[in-house]
Structure formats: C-alpha cells, structure tokens
C-alpha cells in the first residue's frame, strides 16, 4: 500500500516537472498550453492519488479534488486558447515566421 503511494507520488512529481519544463521550452502559445495542461493534469492526478493511498480515510475529499481538477483544468486552458485564437495569434503564422528567421 505505502509502496504504491510512493511510486504514484514520484510519477506525479516527474510529470509536474515535465509540465513546467514544457511550458518553458515550447515555441508558441498553443503548444505551451498543450504541454502545460496535459502533463500537469496527469501529474496532479498521480500525486493526489498517491496521498490518497497513504491516508485512506481522506478518500472523499481526495476524490472531490481530483474530479474538480479533471473538470476545470481543460476548461481553463480551452478558454485561454480561445482568447488567443480570437485575438489573432496564429499558430501557422508564428511557425512560418520562425522558419524565416532561421534561414
């Protein structure tokens, strides 16, 4: 039981670190949103589940936090991406500009 919790916690922490690194490394806004959202969602799931395995009496609140993150995190990043799309940040345009600078 406690071993499962430790493994889940380490996996979660690795994915959280990857999420931060992805936000740092990706070249434009949409790709940053993708890397940030996906990696941190799974990382938070795994870390919080690990805590739930270590203290089984906290089960209800842990489940509430996980469901809440699963619903709100994609909605938040979709809203942000929609705002970027509506104000005219174009993914392909940025990519072409970057290629032009590289030549």
């Amino acid at each position: 039981m406690i071993i499962t919790s430790y493994i889940l916690m380490i996996i979660g922490a690795i994915f959280l670190a990857l999420g931060g690194f992805g936000v740092f490394r990706m070249p434009d806004v949409y790709n940053r949103i993708q890397a940030g959202t996906k990696a941190t969602t799974l990382g938070a799931f795994a870390l919080i589940l690990g805590v739930g395995f270590a203290e089984p009496s906290w089960f209800l609140k842990i489940a509430l936090i996980i469901v809440f993150i699963a619903i709100t995190n994609p909605v938040g990043s979709s809203t942000l991406a929609r705002a970027a799309y509506k104000s005219g940040v174009s993914a392909t345009l940025l990519q072409k500009q970057k290629e032009g600078e590289d030549k």
Partner: protein, 161 residues
C-alpha cells in the same frame, strides 16, 4: 419544480462530500441547500430524472477507462516531444465536425479532445469543434475526424445525445 429538486440534490451532494458524513452536518446542509436551491433555481437551465443514475453508471464504466488510457498516452507523447532535442512538432489549426447535439455532450467531447494526444480544442461553433493540433496529418476534415475524435464520438453517442 424539477429544477429546484435537481439543484437541491446537487448542492446536498457537494455539501456531504465537503464535510463528511455526520447526521448533524447533513441536516444543516439540507436546510442551507433548500434555501439556496429556491433562490438560484430560476437561473439554472438543467434538470434530471431517474434516468441519470443509469447514464452516470454507463459513463463511469465505459467512458472513464478509455479516457484515462488516452490521457496516459497523451502524456507519454508530450513527454517525448518536450524531451527530444529537435522538438518534432508541425502545428496547425483544423476544424472537426461533430454529431453530438446537447451542450453537455459537446462539453465532454471538447474536454476529451483537450486531454488526448497532441490536440487542444479552441472553440465550439454550432456543430464544429476548432482544434489546434501539434502534429497535423492528413488533408480532409473527415480524415482529421477519424484521427482525433472518432472513438469518443462513438462512445459518447450511446450515453448522451
């Protein structure tokens, strides 16, 4: 009336989840939820009957395992793209048609697209989802649909409308 009862049940469920199960707490929560439900029920636009229990069980048993499997795949994909030194990405924006009609169905579909490999839903216009894709493959919108949302459409079509 139906709206008021639905709102009351949702609020009471959230209260019990937050405070834990204890008779005093549940009675107090029921009183607070009743007052709140009467006040806010004219602003909400949903209601449900007994059919929702069956729908919820179907949703948990059929949909959630596929979703979690796809989420893990998405993360391995994104980890590979972030960590490989050449950044293998080819981003673009595509439109994907959908057959789902209800708002809740579109909401779940858009959330699923956001959390599956390489795609991010930007906006929903009538029956099209605008999707940003890290690594665009294929030319026509049918081809895009079969790569992005076919599994979820098929699964969700049997559960919500």
């Amino acid at each position: 009336m139906k709206k008021t009862i639905s709102t009351f049940l949702v609020l009471l469920a959230i209260w019990v989840l937050l405070t834990g199960f204890n008779w005093m707490e549940v009675v107090l929560g029921a009183a607070v939820s009743l007052v709140l439900a009467i006040i806010i029920s004219r602003f909400v636009n949903y209601s449900f009957g007994f059919g929702i229990i069956l729908g919820l069980i179907k949703f948990i048993v059929i949909y959630i395992p596929v979703f979690i499997f796809k989420l893990v795949l998405a993360n391995i994909d994104i980890a590979y793209r972030v960590l490989s030194p050449k950044l293998p990405i080819n981003p673009g924006i595509v439109k994907v048609p959908t057959k789902l009609k209800s708002d809740f169905g579109k909401f779940v579909l858009a959330n699923s697209i956001t959390l599956t490999p390489g795609t991010l839903s930007l906006d929903v216009e009538d029956d099209e989802v605008i999707v940003h894709w890290v690594n665009v493959k294929g030319k026509t919108s049918g081809e895009h649909q079969s790569r992005i949302s076919k599994t979820f459409e098929k699964l969700l079509g049997g559960i919500v409308k």
